[in-house]
């Protein structure tokens, strides 16, 4: 452990002033949604804490999660995370390759046994272990081997958290999530396709600062970022409440920025922090750009029907038409039935034999 410098030392080594360090602590507090009073405590903790060893495993993935993290805004979260942790293995980012790279992983595992953090992105194929290998080792073997000595596992991205797109029907590789393979270690899921970089940073900062995982929901997601739906925090919510909906992507409602519910927005059933943290240095998030939420941070989002199909809609469109046809059919049946009845009564009148006093009885006397 002592071979790692403390975070304070590391930062000073990079020529970061005390003032910048406190700004850094403020950023950490803010991403963990902690009050300002916590900043001195964070500073104190970080000052004396050795950098956390972390091993990043990338399996069946598109590298979008890594891209998301490394292209985040300033002060770069990438930088922030790299300041907090010692990223001992990340085969996309590290300079070493081949045997050297794998040796670094093994060294980190042995040197920090029981204390290192495993960050996973990508799903794990079980259909054929040869579908995805690193240095000749299958993903599932590597995961189990690395996690065996870990303190906790962070599943970054929807693929690692729920299987994601590789898991989508018909799931040709037999892809599964981390939590379906690992049952004996604390797991935290940070879903999203990709996940919000600040959330990754926040969770790691929390783990490093407090030495434990934050509060999680039933899907093992940190509540501080996944406690509310996109819809709950959406700036277009007032339009929803007023019943003002865009009916197509280029109608007047869309131009006025009305609610995208009817265009298939999954905001009401998606738990994530997009509406508050936003993306690209806080520029916007999908709904602000005019497109409904896809629900990428929810399990099976890819298999949950069209992105453009509304979740549930009051009588309108298809249903309105159906109701109309049903009414029309009912009316037609009614009219036909009435006509048949009229005909029957007409026939009965035709069949009427005038009643005279001679036929009032069955057996006239």
């Amino acid at each position: 452990m002592s071979k790692y410098p403390t975070i304070g030392e590391s930062l000073r080594h990079q020529g970061i002033s005390r003032r910048d360090f406190l700004k850094f602590c403020t950023a950490v507090a803010s991403i963990m949604a902690l009050p300002a009073a916590m900043i001195p405590k964070i500073a104190e903790a970080l000052e004396g804490t050795p950098k956390q060893s972390a091993i990043w495993l990338s399996f069946q993935e598109c590298t979008g999660c890594t891209e998301s993290l490394t292209r985040s805004h300033a002060p770069t979260l990438e930088g922030l995370i790299l300041d907090l942790i010692s990223l001992d293995y990340h085969h996309t980012l590290q300079a070493a390759a081949g045997t050297a790279a794998e040796s670094a992983r093994e060294a980190a595992m042995q040197g920090n046994k029981g204390n290192y953090l495993v960050i996973v992105d990508g799903s794990i194929p079980l259909g054929n272990l040869g579908y995805s290998t690193i240095a000749g080792i299958s993903n599932v073997d590597m995961l189990k081997e690395v996690v065996a000595g870990a303190k906790a596992v962070v599943a970054v991205g929807t693929c690692a958290a729920y299987g994601g797109i590789p898991h989508a029907a018909p799931n040709p590789t037999g892809a599964v999530s981390v939590e379906s393979l690992i049952t004996d270690k604390p797991i935290i899921n940070i879903p999203g396709c990709p996940p919000i970089p600040m959330v990754i940073a926040g969770v790691v900062a929390h783990f490093v600062t407090f030495g434990q995982l934050p509060h999680l929901d039933s899907l093992k997601r940190p509540l501080s970022f996944f406690g509310q739906t996109i819809h709950d925090r959406c700036y277009r919510r007032p339009f929803y409440d007023k019943g003002l909906f865009a009916e197509s992507f280029d109608d007047e409602g869309a131009k006025q920025g009305w609610c995208l519910y009817k265009l298939g927005c999954k905001g009401p059933v998606t738990y994530n922090a997009c509406a508050t943290t936003k993306w690209n240095d806080g520029v916007s998030f999908p709904i602000e750009s005019g497109h409904g939420c896809l629900g990428c941070s929810e399990p099976d989002f890819w298999d949950a029907g069209s992105f453009y199909k509304p979740l549930a809609v009051p009588i309108s469109g298809v249903i309105k038409a159906t109701t109309g046809y049903a009414l029309a059919a009912g009316a037609a049946v009614g009219v036909a039935s009435g006509a048949i009845n009229r005909l029957k009564r007409y026939q009965a009148r035709q069949d009427h034999e005038t009643v005279t006093i001679t036929d009032l009885e069955r057996n006239p006397k």
């Binding site: 009845n341 009564r345 006093i357 069955r362």
Partner: protein, 424 residues
């Protein structure tokens, strides 16, 4: 010669079911409030007399012939077809258990005209041969002799001679161009000749021209009571032909409830065209005379008396205030019954009931209601405006050994005519 058959009856039910009946049956919520309005239920306590239940055969035909659900039910054997045995069973409910008084129609919370339906159901009963013998014979007499009681012209002629002798007034017969054509009921010719006498005196006082038609003196209509529109139509036609031949302006329906319903309300529908003359009940005509100041009376009846509202005249006909106005001219001690006016109780003999011999017992039983109404009031005299009510109530009072004179309102007024008093 044709005879009544079940098939003819079933066909008649089918042809009678019109839009009102279909909507009444679909609207019925089976609340049973009509039971409480029915004399036969209140006096016997037997639920079979619930008015809507009396319509069960007609309802069955409606459901099975004219509703989708009913057709499906019949298809899957969930309902049984109407049988002749059922009709035979219902004969007692439709005729002996109903006077067509229409009280049930007044209370129905969804506005179903129940009595209209029972009247229509009787058409099916007649065609199927399930009409009571008493009404069949009355209908036969009405068609063949001109009167349900078999009274022929000579009998009327004798009565006319008698009245002319008594009053010294001429009774005009077949006078072309008279203003009023006066109709009579057989009951009045036989039992209450005072009515004809009263008319003669009143017309004399008000100075109106009137006549009796020898070809159509009878106002009652057995066809309406038994429920045979074809027979009713023929009887109405006789009056219409006579009235048009004599070119009268107004036909006066006598003190008889069903005669009024037949000629005033069903008449034009039966013959399929509007009348060229007006039809009024004698009380309507008398009240007009009163309003115009032509009817002058002297003196008052001092006896404590009340008025029995004939159902067809008051409830079904809307002649509610006229008898009250007229009574107040000649009665100083007039009191109203409980439930008076349009909600008054039937005498128990309407709708042809009084012609059904075998229904005598139940008629007496349900008269209990009228008896109670009268006992509450402790009156000395009972006034009405329907000869049938009068005869039924006389029988009822006799059965319960009550002493109470009953008079017709017209004859009571005639007794107090200013001129007749001066003459006397």
């Amino acid at each position: 010669m044709s005879v009544a058959t079940f098939e003819r009856g079933y066909n008649a039910f089918k042809e009678q079911i019109d839009a009102p009946i279909a909507s009444f049956f679909s609207s019925c919520v089976r609340c049973g409030i009509c039971a409480e309005a029915c004399l036969f239920f209140t006096e016997t306590g037997d639920p079979k007399y619930t008015p809507i239940y009396k319509l069960e055969p007609l309802r069955k035909v409606w459901e099975q012939e004219y509703t989708l659900l009913g057709k499906f039910k019949a298809l899957f054997g969930l309902t049984s077809k109407l049988t002749d045995a059922e009709l035979a069973e219902w004969k007692e409910l439709v005729y002996n258990g109903c006077t067509l008084c229409g009280r049930c129609s007044m209370v129905c919370p969804v506005g179903n005209d129940l009595v209209y339906m029972i009247r229509r159901a009787r058409e099916g009963m007649v065609a199927a041969g399930h009409a009571p013998e008493g009404l069949i014979n009355a209908s036969k007499r009405a068609i063949t002799t001109g009167s349900p009681m078999g009274i022929k012209l000579p009998a009327l002629q004798a009565q006319i001679n008698h009245v002319e002798k008594d009053t010294g007034l001429k009774i005009p017969v077949d006078e072309v161009g008279a203003e009023y054509l006066v109709l009579l009921s057989s009951m009045e010719i036989i039992n209450f000749p005072e009515y004809l006498e009263a008319i003669a005196k009143i017309m004399q006082q008000v100075g109106k021209t009137w006549t009796i038609a020898s070809a159509a003196f009878e106002a009652t209509n057995s066809g309406i009571q038994i429920g045979a529109a074809d027979i009713a139509k023929e009887l109405v036609n006789r009056v219409v032909t006579a009235a048009e031949k004599l070119q009268v302006k107004t036909v006066i329906s006598p003190e008889c409830g069903h005669a009024y319903t037949a000629i005033r309300w069903e008449g034009p529908n039966l013959i399929g065209r509007p009348f060229t003359f007006e039809v009024k009940h004698i009380l309507e005509v008398l009240d007009e005379f009163r309003e115009q100041g032509q009817l002058k009376t002297l003196g008052f009846e001092s006896a404590r008396l009340t008025f029995h509202d004939p159902c067809q005249l008051v409830r079904r006909g809307g002649v509610v205030e006229q008898p009250r106005h007229l009574l107040k001219m000649v009665a100083s001690n007039f009191v109203e019954m409980s439930d008076h006016g349009k909600m008054n109780w039937c005498c128990g003999g309407g709708g042809g009931h009084s012609a059904i011999e075998e229904a005598h017992e139940i008629r007496t039983q349900v008269f209990q209601r009228k008896k109670n109404q009268l006992e509450e009031l402790q009156v000395e005299k009972l006034v009405t405006a329907c000869a049938n009510c009068r005869i039924v109530m006389e029988e009822g009072l006799e059965s319960y050994e009550m002493q109470l004179p009953i008079v017709g309102l017209t004859e009571m007024l005639a007794k107090h005519l200013a001129t007749s008093n001066e003459n006397n």
